[in-house]
Symmetry: C2
Subunit: 338 residues, 2 copies
């Protein structure tokens, strides 16, 4: 399955394919220096498979986890490329989850002011979400995605075989972004979660989620308007994720929690909770509302006039950007999830 992102001279293909990792050499020219970026949680076999197809591959294995999404990792990648004599004609290739893709993509955007970037997401979350849209970033001061670049890859290869070796909680974590895509744009996708076993239709879920995001990103690549709806669940979700001591929730789990208070129609909220329960996503959490607000203030959603833009869902397929005051947002946080 191939989806083409149509972004003018920054267009690229997303290949969704079992065994895709073993075929990258046929899909892209790897007869050049290739920085193969991965992390310690990615099976070594995947990295070996990719390196075997590169004529001059240079592997860099980051520490697994959000901590690797740092300026330090960014600097490491740039320095390794420089030491190995990388030029503008060379390539960065990421094999792993969202953290790997985000750091590697940011480094690719900056090295020589931009070299080729190939992304091979190996987690559900990265295949569904991080692989589409060209947002790269690192965290700063414990807050997510404070620094980065809009930078499109030249190719994305999502090997669905890689999902089979994921721990169950990791597998489910990524589905939260697919539930989001369904709620925002594709009721059929949402009902698949209600009616089918996700393992039976995972390729369909990934393709439909990417297609939904594709049409948004094509119309608003740099998030001037429409694309902001993709932040559904992320205002509170990022804050939950950033707050330490909240039980070490994953990104998708936080987004799942962050979407609930933004759903206005109680019947839809009930259906979403049922889907979460079926999948094994969390449906509630105890937290300190003040701490959440403090993080949101630091997050990039606050405007110059002190208000916040949040995404609210009236019905499935009907979302809107809402400007709320700090007080209103505090109310949503307080009442939304109990």
């Amino acid at each position: 399955m191939k989806i083409t992102m149509r972004l003018g001279e920054r267009s690229y293909d997303i290949i969704i394919k079992e065994g895709g990792l073993g075929r990258i050499g046929q899909l892209a020219n790897l007869s050049r220096r290739v920085l193969v970026v991965s992390d310690s949680g990615v099976p070594e076999e995947y990295i070996r498979t990719v390196l075997a197809q590169c004529s001059a591959g240079v592997p860099v294995i980051l520490q697994q986890g959000e901590g690797a999404k740092s300026l330090e990792s960014f600097g490491t990648l740039l320095n390794v490329m420089y030491e190995h004599g990388f030029t503008r004609a060379d390539t960065v290739l990421a094999v792993g989850g969202g953290v790997v893709g985000d750091v590697a993509g940011f480094a690719a955007s900056a090295y020589m002011r931009g070299i080729r970037f190939i992304n091979c997401p190996t987690t559900t979350l990265a295949q569904i979400d991080a692989s589409v849209g060209g947002k790269t970033a690192v965290n700063i001061g414990g807050a997510k995605n404070v620094a980065g670049a809009f930078y499109q890859p030249s190719l994305v290869v999502a090997d669905t075989d890689a999902l089979k070796t994921l721990p169950p909680r990791h597998f489910v974590n990524g589905l939260a972004e697919a539930v989001k895509a369904g709620l925002l744009f594709d009721e059929t996708l949402f009902t698949m979660f209600e009616e089918q076993d996700v393992h039976d239709c995972i390729t369909d879920i990934i393709v439909r989620s990417i297609a939904a995001k594709q049409s948004v990103v094509e119309r608003d690549e740099r998030e001037k308007g429409l694309r902001a709806t993709l932040n559904f669940g992320h205002t509170i979700g990022h804050a939950i994720e950033s707050c330490e001591g909240l039980g070490g929730l994953y990104h998708g789990e936080c987004v799942a929690l962050g979407m609930l208070p933004m759903i206005e129609e109680p019947s839809v909220r009930r259906r979403v909770r049922s889907v979460y329960k079926k999948l094994g996503l969390p449906v509630h959490i105890r937290y300190d509302g003040d701490k959440i607000m403090e993080f949101i203030r630091h997050d990039k959603k606050q405007r110059a006039d002190g208000t916040f833009t949040v995404v609210r869902l009236a019905q499935i397929g009907k979302s809107r950007l809402d400007k709320v005051t700090a007080e209103q947002l505090r109310g949503i946080i307080r009442e939304g999830i109990r």
Copy 2:
């Protein structure tokens, strides 16, 4: 004097004006958080003048010199912005030479994936060259501009009063880029150096140099072709600059030296040497050709097939991109400057 860079939605104005620093508040909205980036070589008075016009200015003073053009400085700026709660609505403002503008611009490009950037170049070099074109960068491993971004400012204010306090060698250093602009595109500009006192016509020189670069950048913002001619003198120039122990030459001085072997017509080369002598730019240097080659290999001008693209000048106004082998380049380096 105002020059408008026409780059679609990234268009911006360059204001060349005596006393411009005192008027930034009238030219741009500074009623927001403003990161005022400068270095220890910039007169404090300039920084105070700018801060006085900001409602919430946050000054960061880097150490003077090329060493500040580092990933460390980049990280410092990002962290300071985060700690002060900067949002997408806020601004980075650079006051200083090329180093300050390059680091501050790169940080502005990355913070929240891009916030407003105002550049106030205070050196001849920065006003003539670094302020135009949107190239931002830091050095890595001692090599120039290895990491960065194409990122256009929203406003450039070149206060020509600032040039009056520059040490003479600094003042002259920047003129090398103006000589380059004249040689490439504007014979009238070049003859100004032969026939006039530069102090009498410095504003004209700056305006003509910016105008020459403007037309190139407007046609090729991301250096896919034409813009590469602006690298005239830079292949060897950067290498000379990167080689330590060469007597601590400035950037413009290195570019001046790097242009000479790329001028094919002996009579033009003689005229250029005369201008250098009149201005006080260097006309020759002793160096180790192998060391220069080694640096050029690391520089971004090497192609995948091992050749190098250099800019050669047949006559004033007639330049071309030339693909040369390492052996040919070695010959140019050996024979060019003696």
